[in-house]
Symmetry: C2
């Protein structure tokens, strides 16, 4: 059992619709609010429960204003002061930067941790041990990312090139980071995995809030100044008004460009290789995987009261309509059945769902997005 840490503030940036999971995911039902594993918990709730035991302080959530109600319902123990609401999506640097700044003011010198709201991680205990090592390493003045031991030469993720062991006491598995690299082609990915020095970048960071902000100020001074204006008004009667006005003017950029990559170049980044099972549930192929479809004639069924009739078929059916779904002679099929939209594809084509969503956007079919 992990002991709760002091002056460690995990937070969860909960943004992103997850449009590869349309029509299950929607603008008003983003991926992190869905139960994609049949566990009974949303991905956000599961993330929160993994983090809460690690700290004596509250876990903070940064999400869109439109999700305030749904997030509060999922996390009844979350107090309003720990729910930071974005007026609109402005990419990860703004969301993570604001959390760092608010937490640094709340608890100067603290270590923060940023963890995506929509990943599946098991078992929690192995993840938590990795976070404890990351916090220990962060206290030595490092931005510590938790990388994922690759289970395949995926071309869908960026990679982290690890250096030698840093020899930090109480954080024996922490290694230096030479650089972050973009999504590779297949040959490169194979070479990465074979070398043993590359980890998947899952976007998890543990660091002194002040060090995150130092790099943010150096690389994105305009963004940093805007966040400072917001933080100055935070907790006053002007909070919402200033947030609304300033937020829209903030530069849109990813935390990778604003902080992680330049910090790695400066030698300020370390990595804990995560040995837990990790999945970003990026598409319906991943959902099939996570719902334990293995046998060739198996169909995974997600959804309450769904009656599925299977004849010579395999794949996944996700339904929340209560209709009878009959599959006959369809292999590796993906059927997602919602009240106003129906998707039929295959596991192989699961990645193309995003383009369909873009087509719907372009054709003005906004009612089903």
């Amino acid at each position: 059992m992990t002991q709760p840490l002091e002056h460690f503030h995990p937070f969860i940036p909960a943004g992103g619709v997850g449009s590869r999971l349309w029509p299950l995911s929607r603008a008003d039902a983003p991926k992190f609010l869905l139960d994609l594993t049949g566990s009974g918990s949303s991905l956000l709730r599961a993330t929160y429960e993994r983090l809460a035991p690690l700290t004596k302080d509250p876990v903070m959530v940064v999400t869109g204003r439109g999700h305030a109600g749904a997030v509060s319902q999922q996390l009844p123990e979350l107090s309003a002061k720990d729910l930071v609401l974005e007026p609109s999506p402005r990419d990860s640097a703004a969301a993570i930067g604001l959390a760092c700044m608010l937490l640094e003011r709340r608890d100067p010198g603290c270590v923060v941790g940023s963890f995506a709201a929509d990943h599946v991680i098991e078992p929690a205990s192995v993840f938590q041990e990795a976070v404890v090592q990351a916090v220990t390493a962060a206290r030595t003045g490092k931005i510590v990312t938790i990388g994922i031991q690759p289970s395949s030469p995926s071309t869908g993720f960026g990679y982290i090139k690890a250096d030698g062991d840093l020899g930090i006491e109480g954080a024996s598995s922490v290694r230096g980071v030479e650089q972050f690299v973009e999504k590779p082609d297949e040959d490169t990915a194979r070479a990465y995995v074979a070398s043993g020095d590359y980890l998947w970048n899952a976007g998890m960071f543990v660091a002194p809030a002040s060090l995150m902000l130092e790099h943010l100020e150096a690389n994105e001074p305009e963004l940093f100044q805007g966040l400072r204006t917001i933080a100055d008004a935070w907790g006053t009667v002007r909070q919402d008004q200033v947030m609304s006005r300033v937020w829209e003017s903030l530069p849109k950029t990813a935390i990778d460009y604003a902080v992680a990559e330049p910090a790695a170049a400066a030698g300020d980044v370390a990595v804990v290789p995560g040995t837990f099972n990790w999945d970003d549930v990026g598409d319906f192929a991943a959902m099939s995987r996570l719902n334990h479809v293995g046998e060739s004639d198996d169909v995974a069924v997600l959804g309450e009261n769904t009656r599925v009739l299977v004849d010579n078929s395999s794949g996944i059916v996700v339904s929340d309509t209560g209709r009878v779904v009959a599959l006959i002679g369809v292999e590796d099929i993906v059927v997602v059945d919602t009240p106003d939209a129906l998707l039929v594809t295959t596991r192989e084509h699961a990645q193309s769902v995003k383009e369909t969503v873009n087509s719907l956007k372009a054709s003005g079919d906004l009612d089903v997005l």
Copy 2:
């Protein structure tokens, strides 16, 4: 333009759910009530309109009591006396036998014609010319079937083995019938088609009503007696009461066994080779065909207000829900989308739909049948 014939009474036995078209077809929405060609007319309505110009008399319809309302709506010109309602399905010999008996009593010595309610035939004029020849031949004392020139060595139909020309004046294409043969295997079907002497049996009969009844009495005396009891009460206040009581006791058998095959053995059957296009719309593969899906990347869409998004897919979408349907990377797919049931299969597996319906019956899911 065909001249309307005298003493010729076409009738339409409208039974059969067409369960290979589930979930489009249902117990209360049988195939003959559906518009399967996107023409705006149900198959029944199209059948009626093909037959009406051939006669100076009304066209009669024999259907289940449960369909009285729907049939009347489809055929507003049909008078009640020409709508014969079966208390329950008792196979084709009972339905066709009763029509023959009622029409023989109405117009002694008449020729009747029995035409399925759920076939697609084009052009109507070529069909009508065949019927005129069949009526001419029938008046010489023959049961005349209209066979279909096979367009492929189908194993899904029974065949008619034709004999030599009968040399009937005004019916030059009429040939004798040696025998009816059951659905063949593939090699046999190929030999049949190559010989030029075999036609598909589409279940269309034109004959003196009295000759039909003569064979029925000889082969199914119990059925014949029952029908006589019903006919005796017809048009009296006891009609419905006698119908309800006697109908349930009638032997269930097909007109092929009760009349056509023994009549052929007795040398009483002739055939007109039909050169019109004919399709029994037996499954969703047929529906794709009829809705002109030819190109490899084409998707046929049937249903009002259906928005279909196609990416690298082919097949057919039938929807009456108004939902957005997105197909990604699925070839030869069949998607049938109804408010309470969804079918996903392929054109190749279209024939297996009937087994799924049987599974649903066995599992007690009667609400969607």
